[in-house]
Amino acid sequence: MSENVLNILTSREDKFTSAIGSEFNLVFNEDLDEHEFNIIDYEHCPDQDDDFIITNCMYFTDNVGKIDKKKFGSIKPDFYVCSEFDHLNDRVKRFVDFASGNQIPKGKELISKYLTSTADLKALFDSVVNEIKFPADHVRDRFLLILDELSSNTLYNAPVDDNGIPLFRRTDRSEDVVLEDKTSVNVTVSEDDDAYHICCSDTYGSLFADTVKNYLFREIVAPQQREGGAGIGLSLIFENCNSLLYNIELNSKTEVTAVIRKFKKNKDHLLSYKEVFLTEKGSF
């Protein structure tokens, strides 16, 4: 299986309580070709303590004759034989850590700001441009685009009223918004030797895991004709980052982190694997 395979790992909290702390073997299909995407829901197998069975997979491939990209729905295999996918197992182990609440280390904090208005977005952008020295122009370009898209999405899409009705989701982005709760939306930028981390969090918890999966499918896995630029925000974020981490606690908190690795060469970024981690807890 190619390094270019994207794996979107999701979990519901109850499925993971039995897995925490245990060793596991990933069972997976060896025959996957390049450019395939797998959206995998894990479920602990009750009969085999150390193995996961993949109960819900969607496979998409570019190859003619294989599964049609447009035909999606769940395929329910019994199980697949694990192969030497060490990199994938490492990634799954990272995901288990992430889902267990052990956040992936983010390094040194560079900037942390609460966003209370559109003006704050602009100020944040300007401070990043002035304060951070990037190792390469292409890293800077990726970083700034992701910062712009992610923080704008959080400011406009996250806030809901006491009845859960979105406040600004339909507001044109050219219109300024002001939040009443001054500490509800936060953007933190940090770095380690390997990567930058842009974390946008809010205290509304109004994003559903299924919504994220639908967007991922629509914009990345099987993109529609993006005529007129409609709906390309998430795909721009995804194209330009290396990891996208969603930590959702419904009605309480949403945290989205984009990781941008500090590749010297642009091509190294283009050839690197991508991952999306998504966990959801609670109810809305």
Binding site: L145, G229, G233, L271
Partner: protein, 154 residues
């Protein structure tokens, strides 16, 4: 202060628009006087960011230009080449690309280099070769099949 500027000048018989800064949700062009130009040169070298809202605004901008007007893109930076490749319809039927930048990497000096190319210099989607001052070949720093995909639309 605006996030962008659009300056106008004449380039031969064509109208030249030089766009600089961020093309985002605030990008507006209502005050632009195209003066019935038969050809518009769009110099994009100074664009530093085009987000998803900016792409939508850009589409409206291009739609406002009469279909009989020829649009010639000049000095297209890599961030806009990426948009041309991702977004269906970015290059309208009346558009052509005169010059665009391609990313290369100088291993010897460990630095990025951007080269200005014409579409005619890219044959069979292969990046032309360049050397640095010391004669060492530069590495094309993107995936050729993907980076030059927009040329199929010209």
């Amino acid at each position: 202060m605006s996030d962008y500027t659009i300056s106008t000048s004449n380039e031969g018989s064509a109208l030249k628009l030089s766009v600089k800064g961020q093309v985002n949700e605030n990008f507006a062009f209502d005050d632009l006087d195209l003066g019935g130009a038969g050809t518009i040169h769009l110099d994009l070298e100074g664009i530093t960011l085009m987000n998803s809202s900016g792409v939508k605004r850009w589409f409206k901008f291009i739609e406002a230009i009469p279909a009989t007007t020829k649009i010639v893109y000049q000095n297209v930076p890599p961030i806009i080449v990426t948009q041309m490749n991702i977004v269906e319809g970015f290059l309208s039927p009346n558009a052509e690309v005169e010059t665009f930048y391609a990313p290369y990497f100088d291993e010897e000096n460990d630095e990025e280099v951007k080269k200005l190319l014409k579409p005619s210099e890219v044959k069979d989607k292969k990046a032309p070769t360049f050397t640095n001052d010391g004669g060492e070949e530069l590495e094309f720093d993107a995936l050729e099949e993907t980076y030059f995909k927009f040329l199929d639309k010209l």
